[in-house]
Symmetry: C2
């Protein structure tokens, strides 16, 4: 388990008691890159606070197609798993580890208790929802209004922000995230290369557009 200072660094401004409750009741779990942390429809048993690594949040449809929504980084939390008593407890999202990750898992029975007990937890929950809500708005904006070339550019920029200019992604992986086909992604990337926005390599490419 982490010690108080380590938790405090990730989640500043909490009450002392909250840190102690975390240490007492949370479990520090790890998962390797690529692991599925939460499936759609799965019963939610614990809240997830990211400690190390990056988590990707998806929508998923009946056939298993995926749609990328946003990233979670250390110090951030999964809004969906912050279940309160008055609400359904089935996950509506799919969460996957992008890198090796570690996270704090808190059994959901503490959610209501802590909301009552710790003001700083209350604020944290609100902040988490607000940030995720805003990410969803951006995702809707791209999806509803833009063509695939612009959506791909938006997607790449998000990745660049997360991981830097050199991205280790295959065309197929990108196509999965955007719910399109590999061929479409290949052709659009080739166009971006012609416009000198990227340099293409096998299994990776580099974002070089300056704007």
């Amino acid at each position: 388990m982490l010690n108080k200072d380590q938790i405090k660094q990730l989640f500043p401004d909490w009450e002392d008691g909250l840190y102690e409750s975390i240490i007492e009741h949370a479990e520090l779990r790890t998962a390797p890159a690529g692991a599925t942390l939460l499936k759609m429809g799965q019963n939610i048993k614990s809240t997830m606070l990211v400690v190390e690594g990056t988590v990707k949040l998806y929508q998923e449809n009946e056939e298993g197609a995926e749609y990328f929504m946003y990233h979670l980084n250390p110090g951030e939390a999964c809004a969906v798993t912050m279940v309160c008593n008055y609400h359904l407890e089935q996950s509506q999202v799919l969460a996957k580890a992008v890198t090796d990750v570690s996270f704090l898992a808190i059994p959901i029975e503490f959610m209501d208790k802590w909301l009552n007990q710790y003001k700083s937890w209350h604020y944290f929950v609100i902040r988490t929802y607000r940030l995720r809500y805003e990410e969803l708005l951006k995702t809707i904006h791209e999806t509803a209004f833009k063509n695939m070339d612009e959506r791909l550019e938006f997607y790449i920029k998000r990745q660049v922000k997360q991981f830097g200019n050199t991205l280790k992604l295959t065309h197929q992986e990108i196509a999965n995230d955007l719910n399109t086909s590999r061929e479409v992604v290949s052709r659009l990337l080739k166009k971006m290369e012609n416009h000198q926005w990227i340099v293409l390599n096998r299994n990776s490419f580099e974002w070089i557009k300056k704007d």
Copy 2:
């Protein structure tokens, strides 16, 4: 202004002090059907709690195209306007009155104060975010995975849930909400009529599909 009992009926389970603060500081405003209540990019000055009527929430793009996300009903609140100190205060959504509406407008300077002061307000804010977040997830699901025929069906079902089986909507209005063109909507509605899902009239149609 509403009296305490009226507010209590719409927003049950609040603390007494919160009702009194509402009465003291909130303003009861009205707007006619079709009015714009909140523009994208607009500075948020007050939180909106719906008292009567139905409000529609949209995303909007640079060219003024709209994309319908969800409805707000009496007793519900606009998550976007529940601004806390630590966050930007520019609206990322467009809100319009569908019917004549009345709503309570609370200056945002009370948000932080009330979060500190009233536990029930805190819960209300979390609940609001959670409900809106879930609506956004549904919207993304439809937009990302479905073709226009299925999206139109989903849209109509949402409207039916709100307003009953007879919907007073022109094809152009539907097209605007779904960010598509009037012709596409006309053709798809005609198909639905052939399948006996709807009965078409001028300026309205009726949902008769049983499933």
